[in-house]
């Protein structure tokens, strides 16, 4: 089957997923994107959000906080510093992550300010989506 590709999600501490997927939705830093097989090879950074992989065995959803994705015609690899299966991540933990981001925002220098602001906004948005 040509329309199936390999989807990997790895964090520094473990491999969260290594499955077949037909479409993967990524929260790219330039906007949401859905990747299907035979996609142009791309590397993109990610913003906090939900990675959703649709495959023959169903749908898998993960929450990622920063990272990047490497897309090849037959594979999608997401490298995330922090990633959780959506079901495992509780509201409290996400709020803790939000607080961390806010702390960073408070001490951020001017040039990092934008980044920190966006980080906080994204995580807050994510928190709403998880409701």
């Amino acid at each position: 089957m040509a329309d199936v590709m390999k989807f990997d999600l790895v964090s520094p501490e473990r491999r969260l997923a290594s499955i077949e997927a037909t479409a993967v939705r990524l929260p790219g830093s330039e906007g949401e994107m859905t990747v299907m097989a035979a996609h142009q090879p791309t590397v993109t950074t990610l913003r906090p959000g939900i990675v959703r992989a649709e495959g023959p065995e169903g749908v898998a959803e993960f929450v990622v906080i920063s990272g990047f994705a490497e897309i090849a015609p037959d594979s999608v690899s997401v490298l995330a510093e922090r990633a959780y299966p959506r079901a495992e991540l509780g509201r409290e933990e996400l709020q803790k992550i939000l607080r961390e981001a806010e702390e960073k925002q408070a001490v951020a220098e001017t040039e990092e300010r934008d980044l920190a602001d966006r980080m906080v906004a994204d995580i807050a948005h994510l928190l709403e989506m998880m409701e």
Binding site: S11, E13, S29, Q40, P41, T44, L79
Partner: protein, 294 residues
């Protein structure tokens, strides 16, 4: 000649030492398995990180045009050596072998007139190097309270190092750690982490076959975002390798200690039996000669 009571006490004390070393060996074996699993689990991330970084580095057109983390400061006058050792001893030559490698490197660098700064991770390395190189210490990372090394430990160390780099405190950073090969063999290794050094041999072949990648946002921006993570990843794998090596080294050291204790007990037991027999013989002679004298 020690008395029977003394011998008995010694045998008892060696026996309890053997119990302790045996227990430590078993604990180390269990921890080693966990450490190896952790090292195994971290590998896919580190490998991908390496390959993406290598490709990015080439796509921005060689080291000269890249950000400072890739291109370096243009000098190699000041070196930061990050010496990673264990928090605890009783693990054979584990700590000393890292310190020995670092010491050789320091001497080599100084012979070339470079400046050396030292950052230690782990208490043992600090203790061993304190006397000789106290004036070169710039910092120490304590992992004593850490039961399981997580990515955030590595991230904190990386941030510390990168902050120093941004402040212009050094030009080149190298980490020292033990690469885990097997329970009986750990290889002291040094690896340059700043500026980022892509594996050229593998890279060149890959570049020839490489497909053209699109970058979103630009390659430069992604690179600036990912490079610090690359440093953290390298430190993380070094920490994990080190943790596995430490347990491996401790396991074989404790195995030796247990065996030595066993041999010592055997020797002492023979000595004890002989002494006891000698004492019995002596008493018999006394009784018999007493009876004969009557």
């Amino acid at each position: 000649m020690p008395s029977l009571k003394d011998l008995k006490n010694r045998i008892e004390s060696v026996k309890s030492t053997r119990k302790i070393t045996k227990a430590m060996q078993m604990v180390a074996a269990a921890k080693l398995r966990r450490a190896q699993e952790a090292a195994e689990a971290s590998r896919p991330y580190a490998e991908r990180m390496d390959s993406v970084l290598g490709r990015l580095a080439r796509s921005v057109g060689g080291a000269q045009n890249g950000p400072r983390l890739l291109a370096g400061t243009g000098s190699d006058q000041t070196h930061l050596l990050v010496v990673m050792t264990a928090e605890r001893g009783l693990c054979g030559g584990f700590n000393s072998s890292i310190v020995r490698l670092a010491r050789a490197r320091i001497e080599e660098l100084e012979a070339h007139g470079k400046r050396v700064k030292i950052l230690t991770v782990g208490r043992k390395g600090r203790e061993q190097m304190k006397r000789e190189f106290a004036d070169k210490f710039v910092g120490h990372v304590d992992l004593q309270g850490v039961r399981r090394i997580g990515y955030e430990n590595a991230d904190a160390i990386a941030r510390d190092i990168l902050a120093r780099f941004d402040a212009g405190e050094f030009d080149v950073a190298t980490i020292f750690f033990n690469r885990f090969q097997s329970v009986i063999s750990q290889i002291p290794t040094m690896k340059q982490i700043v500026p980022f050094a892509a594996d050229d041999v593998e890279g060149a072949a890959e570049a020839a076959a490489a497909t053209h990648y699109e970058y979103e946002p630009s390659a430069e921006e992604i690179l600036a975002d990912i490079l610090p993570r690359g440093v953290a990843t390298q430190i993380f794998s070094a920490l994990l390798e080190n943790a596995a090596s430490e347990q491996g080294a401790r396991m074989s050291a404790m195995d030796n200690a247990t065996r030595n204790a066993g041999e010592m007990i055997d020797k002492l037991t023979i000595l004890y039996n002989r002494s006891r027999q000698a004492a019995i013989t002596k008493e018999l002679i006394e009784i018999i000669s007493g009876a004969e004298a009557l």
